[in-house]
Structure formats: structure tokens, C-alpha cells
């Protein structure tokens, strides 16, 4: 098990109103081997420094996007970041293998309850399905993909006292990813977004 370096790219355009993600971000920041980037703070005018971002990618093993779910996807700056940073010749295409064997992971929060993200539910699709574009980005860039970790019902998480346990769970996961005790292979078929709440990943890892 070797230590892994994690690049945490956080996107929240209205942090004054944030109840879940801001707390989570400041907790994750403190973990060893994490480079925590507040994208809206570094690029308030969306003027993304492509070279710098590519350099950061090269220096890390695991890339995490952290954001609140906006219209079944990320806030705009993450899309902007992908459009600019994941260039032809760097991330994909001829000699575009710089991200090969790195890992992509989504950490998000959704307003609706898990029951809404079902075929019969209000949102018609499980969240993992809705986030397929990220999975395909990972695939095209020859990266591994860990299923998203989601906090459902985020609008009432504070009132229900679910923020602290969620933050602890995410921190444990990040620690395990960083010290190498948990890798993309540990997950197998587990879909973190819709099943993580029931499955104990660390145990699963021990079995593997």
C-alpha cells in the first residue's frame, strides 16, 4: 500500500448559504496528502489557468470533484474546468495519456431524498445514471472511477443532525484512499450513491 495524493476540486458558487459542503470541505482540507482547491475562489472570473491545473493533475493520483448537485450535474465552473483543462493531447487523443490510471471520484449532495432518485421516483433515474458523463470522462481519459458518495436530503441534513456523521464518513473514506488501504478496485459493483449508506466499504475492502 503506497500513499496516494488526492486533488480535491471544490465548486460552490454560493458558500454563504452552504450548510453541508462548506463544513465538509473544511474538514477534508485538514487530511494529509490532500490538495484542496476552492475553484470559485481561485477563478472568480472563470479565468482558469490551464497550465497550472494540468500541472496539479500530474502531481496527484486521485481527483475528486466536490459540489452540490445543480440540475443533475455540477455547478458551471466544473464544466468550464473540464472544457479547458482536459485538452486533446493531454487528457485524451494522440499522446493524451497523462491521466492514465489515475482515479476520478465525485462527492456531492442532493436536495431530494434517495427515494426520488429511482426509476419510479420523481427524478426517474438513480443518481449514478445521471452522473454518467463524469464516468465517461474518466473512461475516455483512461482513468478509474469510484462511484459517487452522495448526501441525499441535503436541505434538511442540518436539522436532522446528519452533517457530522456524513463528514466523518467522507473523512474516513478519504483517509483510506490516501493511505492506499482503499482503491478503485475495492468497490467492485457497489454503487456508493444509492447503496453506500447500507454497505460498509471498509469491511468490504478487508474481504478483498
Amino acid at each position: 500500500m503506497t500513499t496516494k495524493k488526492i486533488l480535491l476540486l471544490f465548486a460552490h458558487p454560493a458558500q454563504g448559504d452552504s450548510e453541508v459542503n462548506k463544513t465538509l470541505f473544511s474538514a477534508l482540507k485538514k487530511i494529509d496528502n490532500i490538495t484542496a482547491v476552492d475553484l470559485y475562489a481561485e477563478y472568480p472570473k472563470f479565468h482558469i489557468d490551464v497550465e497550472r491545473e494540468q500541472q496539479r493533475l500530474l502531481e496527484h493520483d486521485i481527483v475528486v470533484f466536490q459540489f452540490p448537485l445543480y440540475w443533475y450535474s455540477s455547478p458551471a465552473i466544473i464544466k468550464e474546468w473540464q472544457d479547458l483543462v482536459l485538452e486533446y493531447g493531454f487528457a485524451y487523443g494522440k499522446s493524451g495519456d497523462k491521466l492514465k490510471d489515475k482515479t476520478l471520484f465525485i462527492l456531492t449532495s442532493a436536495g431530494a431524498q434517495e427515494s426520488a432518485y429511482q426509476t419510479e421516483g420523481l427524478n426517474q433515474y438513480p443518481l449514478r445514471e445521471l452522473l454518467r458523463p463524469f464516468e465517461q470522462v474518466a473512461h475516455l481519459c483512461q482513468m478509474h472511477y469510484i462511484p459517487p458518495l452522495v448526501l441525499f436530503g441535503a436541505r434538511t441534513a442540518k436539522e436532522d443532525g446528519r452533517i457530522e456523521p456524513h463528514t466523518k464518513k467522507a473523512s474516513a473514506l478519504f483517509n483510506a484512499l490516501s493511505d492506499g488501504s482503499l482503491t478503485h478496485e475495492s468497490f467492485g459493483d457497489i454503487d456508493l450513491s444509492n447503496h453506500y449508506n447500507n454497505a460498509n466499504t471498509t469491511n468490504k475492502n478487508n474481504e478483498v
Partner: protein
Amino acid sequence: MTAYFIQASIYLLAAVIAVPIAKRLGLGSVLGYLIAGVVIGPIAGLVGQETQTIQHFAEFGVVMMLFLVGLELEPKMLWNMKTKLLGLGGLQVGLSTLCIALIASLFIDQWTYALAIGLIFSLSSTAIVLQTFNEKGLNKSEGGKSAFSVLLFQDIAVIPMLALIPLLAISALSGSPTVAEDAHHGYSLVDGLSSWAYAIVVLSAIAIVVVGGHFASRPLFRFVAASGLREIFTASALLLVIGIAAIMSLVGLSPALGTFLAGVVLANSEFKHELESTVEPFKGLLLGLFFITVGAGIDFGLFSSMWLTVLAATAALMLVKFGILYVLATIFRIKNSDRWLLSLSLAQAGEFGFVLLSFSVQNSGLPDDISKLLALVIAISMFLTPLLFIAFDKIILPRFELNTNASQEEDAIEDSAPVVIAGIGRFGQVINRLLTSNGIPTVVLDRSVDQINLVRNIGIKSYYGDATRHDLLHTAGIEQASLFVVAIDESELAIELVNHVSHTYPHIKILARAYDRRDGYALRQAGAHHVVFESFYSALELGGQAMQEIGFHPFHVEQLKQNYIDTEQKHDSSLYDMWQKAQGDSTMMQHYRLLFIKLEELLKESMKSGREDKHDSSHQSWAPPPKNYLKELRED
């Protein structure tokens, strides 16, 4: 004449030596002045009987201090204080007078004497306490504010006390008090008036101060300030304070109360900070002189013969006052260290005690031997006050430190420190509007009276004053500021100002507006943390508009503008280095020029967007992959 010079030199020398030493030892300036007085008076015997005369003159420092206190206190704040002012202050004076009078009556047969002692001792020392609060930065604490309410009530209560003491004398001696009164009242407008006429005169005097202060002082100051003569402004500030003191004395009111009212009236005025910085040195010197005379006036002969009585009386006095304040603080829900601060800081008797004492003797309200003893008690209790403050700092405060820290952190966001803005021209106005409309407090300074008038008319709160003058920056509160914004036109002055602030207050972040590039570099060298060339962004904006008019796509124009800024910033540091070298060595100027020309070329280069032809660039491009890229992907 020579005698005056020698005397003045003795007083000044004592202060110059004793005060810095006391300050260095953490005793505070008040104790330093007191010690200086003791040394030149009772110990060395360099000064003698004239100290009493000087003391009456130096009491004017208290009047000036209350004017400054009033300036810091807007009428709205005064209204908010009313519960504490009347409740806490009233109860403190009432209960202290009563308790002390009761205790005194155990030793003195004459009940009127006992009551006079109660009145004299119920007052605390505004001069020592406020001066010390100022030095220690305790003004804004809960304990500090409560202590201030009490002191203010006491200062007002002096007036009825002055009226009451002659009445006590009448019932005590049933002799003719008129002789004594004649001796006291030199000039007075109210002698021999009937009571209703007296009331009218008093009310109209107060009206003159309030209305005159509000309406007449501004045109006067504007007129004087427009002349640009510093010393005339100083003269008019002194005229205001002394004039009001004169009016008040003429009608038999406290000059301190009058100047305090005038201060409150002017608290919203644009001349507030200028007045403060003008009056401040006079106040400081006079108060210092006052404390020296208190020290010099200590009668060691009497003390050595009756030291036990004196010390016991002093201890009893301070204990009683402390006890009453502590109980009152508990009733008024003043908590933790603030309760201790209030009770300890006001446990002494004060300078108004001396005033009442001499007045009582003149009016036969007290016999001379008791009065000498009382003077000693007052002086010693004042002498002990700085020690109580040290005890508060060293013993009480550490016990409550954890609590106060926690609460301070919460306050920080709500009650954020103000941003000081120098210059309220077109540039400063935009900055000020942006900040204030987001709830960030600002203190705006400008040295043009016309400009202040203009922006005050459109509701921008601003103050007259030359920000390049160091004392004015101090009274405007630069020490507590979170940021300092320099937006004044004169580039030489701006550089000097940045230089001064960055050296004197290294913890304050400085944001400066520059006229051009070289000006900006000079500001940066002087210590500005962030510099913006005043025309840069507006020129870029209009340039971009021109590109759009010519037919460039608006989003493309936006990128090109950003490229321009990036290239500038990238090469800014090397240009700055070269500029710095060229400052000391004129032959380097040629290199600076060459570098500048190179920047021109780099700018042209950076405008060729698209990363295919410029792989080392970091500019955004959204470049599409090559036409045949799908084939490659399949090969993979």
C-alpha cells in the same frame, strides 16, 4: 518672568522623565504624573504654594476631556445609555453618598459635615479612569462603557452638589453665608436673579450651546478651514471650548457639562476628527499638569502625624465604593471581568472632590482641619487607582480570559473594524459606496472642505482633515482599522502617506490608487500591498468596446482583455525590479525602457489565441481536437 520659566521647566522636566519611565514599567501615564508631582513637591520641595493655583488652571483639562468624550458620543448613543446613566450612575452616587455619610457621622457630630463628606467622596476620577481606559483600549468593553455612564452622571451631579453645599453651611452655622458667596462669585450673570429668571437664563445658555454648536460652528469652521491656516483652526477650536466654558461659568453651570454637550452636538460634524486632533494635545498636557499638582499637593507632614487615620479612611472609602459598585454591577447584569473592571476602576475619589472640597471650605461647609485630611484621602485613593488597574490586568483578567476570547470571536464579524479611506474624490466615492452598501463601516477623510460639503450633501459620511497628518490618522482610528485605502490625487503625498502608515502600523493592509505605472511602483516600494493604476481597467473596458464595434465577438473580446491583463501581470515583477534598480542608477533607465518595449511585443504575441500554435501559453481557448482525432481514439 525668570521665575515662571524656572517653574515651568521643573514641571516639564519632572513629567518628561517620570512619565516615560512609568509607562515603560507598565504603570500607566497617570501614575507617572503623580509620582513626578510627589518628587518635585513634598520630596524635593522644588515647588510650593503655587500648585493650588496651577491646579485650578489645570482642571480645565477635564473640561477639554469631556469635550472630546462628547465628540465620540453621538446623541443616539447617549439616548441608548439612558438606563445605565440614570440607573447605574444615579444609584452609585446616591448609595455611596448615603453609606459614606453614615460612616462619617460615627466620627463627626455635625451631620451636615458628614453629608458633605459623603457627597465629596461619592465622585470618582473621570480624568484618571478615562485616560487609563484610553491607554489600555478598554473604552469599548462592557465594563468600560458602564464606568463611563457612571462618570458622566457624576460630572452632571456636581452641579446640584455645588448648589447644595452652601445650604448645608447655612443650617450648620446659621451664620451669614453671603460673605463667603461674594468671595467666590467674581463674575456672574445670575447673581440676585429670582428663581424663574435664573431658570430662563440657564436654559437659554444651554440652548445657545446646543443650537450654536449645531448651526453656527459649521459655517465658522468651514470659513476657517477654507483659509488653509492651521493655527487659525487651532485657535477657533480653542475658542469653541473656552467660549462655552465661559458661558457656562457665567450662569453658574459646570463648564465640563457645557463642553460635553457641545461635543455631542458636533459628534456628527465633518470637523470631528480635525477638532479631536487639535484639542487632544492641550487636554493631555493640562491633565498631566493636573495630576502633577495632585502629587505635589500631598501633605506629608499631616500624613506622618496621622498616617493610621488617613490610611484607614482611604481603605474604608475604597472598600465601600467598590462594594456598592460590585452589587450594582450584579443587579445591572454586568458580567465576569467587566464587573470587576467597573468596581475597581471607580473605587477612588476624584478631582471633582478637590473642587467640592475647596468650595465647601469657602462656604464654611467643612472646617479646615477635616478638609486637609480629606484632601489627603482623595489624593491617596487616586494614587492607588493605577495600581488597581494593574491588579485587574494581572490577577482578574487572566481568570476570565477564556470567556472573553470566545465571545470576541463571535463579535468580530458583526462589529467589524472600519476601513479608513483617504480621499473622497470620484475614485474614493466608488470604493466607499461599494463597502458601505455591504455593511462595512468606513471612516472617510478628505482635506478639501468643498469636497466634504459636496459628498455630505449626497449622504456620504465624511470628515474634514488632511490624512497625511499623522495625528489626524490617529484620531480617525487607524490603529483599529482593518484596511487603509489611499485614494488621494497628489501622488507625492500618497507615497509619503503609504510610507508612514506601512512603517507605523505594519499590521494594516494598504490598498492604493496610482496615477500611472511609475507612481504605482513607488507606492508599492513605499509599502502598499495592492496597487491599481487608476485608468487601466476603464481604458481596457472602452478598448474592448471598440473591438466589439469593429466586429469582434463579445466573448472573444473578453478573452483578449483577460490576455492583456495576464501578460501585464506576468511581466510586472520584472519591470518593477528594473524600475527599482533604475531608481538608484540612472543608467538602468535605458534597460527599463527596453523592458517596457518588450512588454509591448509580448502583448501582441499573447493576443494570438489558440493553443495549437502556442503550446507554452496558458490562455483559455476551447480549442477543438484535430479533424482526424476519432481515428486515433479507435486505434487506442
